[in-house]
Point group: C3
Chain length 145, copies 3
Amino acid sequence: MLDQIHWLAAVTVLGVLEQAYFFLQVIYARRLFGISPPKISGPPEFERIFRAQVNSSEYFPIFLVLLWQAGLFFHQGLAAALGLLYLCGRYCYFMGYKTSSSARLTPMYFSAGVLWILTAVSALSILHFFLSHYVGLNILQLLTA
Amino acid sequence: MLDQIHWLAAVTVLGVLEQAYFFLQVIYARRLFGISPPKISGPPEFERIFRAQVNSSEYFPIFLVLLWQAGLFFHQGLAAALGLLYLCGRYCYFMGYKTSSSARLTPMYFSAGVLWILTAVSALSILHFFLSHYVGLNILQLLTA
Amino acid sequence: MLDQIHWLAAVTVLGVLEQAYFFLQVIYARRLFGISPPKISGPPEFERIFRAQVNSSEYFPIFLVLLWQAGLFFHQGLAAALGLLYLCGRYCYFMGYKTSSSARLTPMYFSAGVLWILTAVSALSILHFFLSHYVGLNILQLLTA
């Protein structure tokens, strides 16, 4: 069973390390700008780093779910490759947001695009599974026949 | 293996689409009220939409975990049906919160109720697994005997 | 298959119950200090409880992912034991943060330490899987030979 998920698991660990990096960046920013918890407001420089981390955290479960479903129902390698693209996009988003609000936009659209592709792959491959499981209709086979 | 999880996967994709819809609503509200990131405070109308999205995001991983555990340890179809109820409850919660703080309460209690049922189903079916696995005690069999 | 994940599932349900407890604490604090949603700012006593819940929610998906990957790729019992330590640490963190910002630090470092151990266990056991799967190199066997 593990050989069906090891690439997904590897990308997931990379994702966890990326999240850890974002958390550490917020801790450094708190020290730099002298903003102790529980405070979350401060100069725009701090708030941008803070919001970049919060936004990445909110998307993390959604990313993982799509990565694993696309990997299990369609193709592990493709899902893992898209996962790596997403993690790169997230890194650029974080670094861009740190600089300015507008510099976050391009990598934000890129990451969102990758997520939409993963969503489409998941949804279509699950739909394909339903059709072949309940109706006996194998679309992939029909297309390649 | 996939035929044990395809209903759970389908409900999960619907959940992801719902979360995407909530994120888009926040983006529209930011434009409407002219509140650019990283700012998160503004008129109550904006803050209600923003909080509705944040609250839904915080509950999303908990929902997914309960959905999948109830589905794997008890019954996939029942878990998926409860999952659909939860997603409906969340939609009504979001739409209610958009109107007023008090209009979020009824669907909030409904969603929370569904989550508690999923928690009970997960906990009891895992307990049942432990009892039959380690003690050899099959309660379901005893009850139906 | 379920006997490979029942301890992970049991710890996960405990984690969900802990998160539910944290959510309830925020609801009680909102009533106590008279802070109705969507407001999230108030006296430091309220903000500490609120931030303790938000922080625990942000870490919850990361914790779950590491718990399950360490359990699947290395050892279920060890992962579940580390998971219990993490949940204890989180409880002390929440209770500490409720009292004062500084009282959260020791359990915060403890929880973070447990997460780093889970990360290392996950990463190394996945690396080990890759090595034995693709290179045919079984390090554990070499070490014990």
